[in-house]
Symmetry: D2
Subunit: 141 residues, 4 copies
Amino acid sequence: MPLPDPVLDAAAVERIIYNGLPMSSLAAFTVIDVARGSTTVRLPFASWMLRPGGTVAGPVMMLAADTAMYAVILAHIGDQVMALTTNLTINFLNRPQPAAVIAEGRILKLGRRLATVEVLIRSEGDDTLVAHATGSYALPG
Amino acid sequence: MPLPDPVLDAAAVERIIYNGLPMSSLAAFTVIDVARGSTTVRLPFASWMLRPGGTVAGPVMMLAADTAMYAVILAHIGDQVMALTTNLTINFLNRPQPAAVIAEGRILKLGRRLATVEVLIRSEGDDTLVAHATGSYALPG
Amino acid sequence: MPLPDPVLDAAAVERIIYNGLPMSSLAAFTVIDVARGSTTVRLPFASWMLRPGGTVAGPVMMLAADTAMYAVILAHIGDQVMALTTNLTINFLNRPQPAAVIAEGRILKLGRRLATVEVLIRSEGDDTLVAHATGSYALPG
Amino acid sequence: MPLPDPVLDAAAVERIIYNGLPMSSLAAFTVIDVARGSTTVRLPFASWMLRPGGTVAGPVMMLAADTAMYAVILAHIGDQVMALTTNLTINFLNRPQPAAVIAEGRILKLGRRLATVEVLIRSEGDDTLVAHATGSYALPG
């Protein structure tokens, strides 16, 4: 599959998501990379993210996964905020560090009506995969 | 499968989750029902939960799903906070109202090492299913 | 969600699937029930279905899940064989008996472009849930 | 995560699966590669695999996914046939050719009790990803 070229840069994707989703300010994420077929987001660590065992809670990893998916879709289809997640599957692999969460969304398929994305999630500064997600988006229009 | 009886009540489950997960205070959820094989949680609506289109954002629904899963597991295995989500799949079905989220976790299988749970998610005051999730937990011990 | 009424009966659904999918003859399934929002299929047991431990192999359960999904979709949208599975998640809960597989597909959402279905899988003559699946179909037209 | 070394070769993995699963002879698959952390299987095309549209049916892709998962697990844990799929999620991305199915299983996490695997599925002779799967196995002992 030829990977599509992005049509928005990191700053534009970040601005669109912050404008549409007030919860962005809670997570304080940044879009740190946009490339052909992929987009990476960073959620800085905050103490409210902890769960028993001193690791980052599952819902924070899901938020990171969903944000990376939405970011990589917007980066490649442009400012169409009505793209909607239709489903998401996440597998938790290793305990995350109490550290920033780095989530890289990769487009597996960008169709006319449906896009499918894979997300690789790591703790900042550690190559270990802590979670892996896949999901689909229904595209507007 | 004979459904197991709960070993904790709603208040006990709520207290355990709030003690272990500081993000509970953000979501301000309550456990509103514990029954044989099922537990229901309620996330009150807050404006930070919105997404474009005036509905509740996907990550909030995932938080509700994960909280209902964790709650129903704890209600049936007791105060064992190291139960860990191993995977979660969520399907988004209908646009949620800008209203409280009601998530009912139902145990599909409670094994010795692994539990599988289904979650039905609705907007408060509306019978329409807005999302459906399934997931597994690795049980401690 | 008001459940839709079926537009085809069990015999019609069965005939359409057999006409389009030669593997149907291998599985020798029958459609045993069509109701509002649900359709049930039966895969008779055959010795090629076994796996180590004397139970029915996972791919047979997946075949049952996919067949029940396709059957319940066709029963409710009519003879539109180009409906395509976009994703499927299956959780294995309990070891199936070496017996016929009964899979009941239930529509969770029947949209214009996308349908989401839940499948409950049991061994014939035993109420225990042996597997649970959810999946989505892209609808033609 | 350091990828584990395989402990069995392709011929050994293939023999174990054929011995335990009579359906292997139906699919006539071969294990064509075992490497560090990955194993690739090939299902030769047969006309019973077709579905409307002239492509390979979904359950065949699921069979390929499950076989690749089981193969990569066995290749890395040895002859422990009681490893059991606990769940599997598959996303269908592009229509497969009426051709052999090539499924590459990659270990995402090999824990003591649970393993998680990703599978990339292609039609033989075409680099396009036709499906992507993830799944977990409960490991014996």
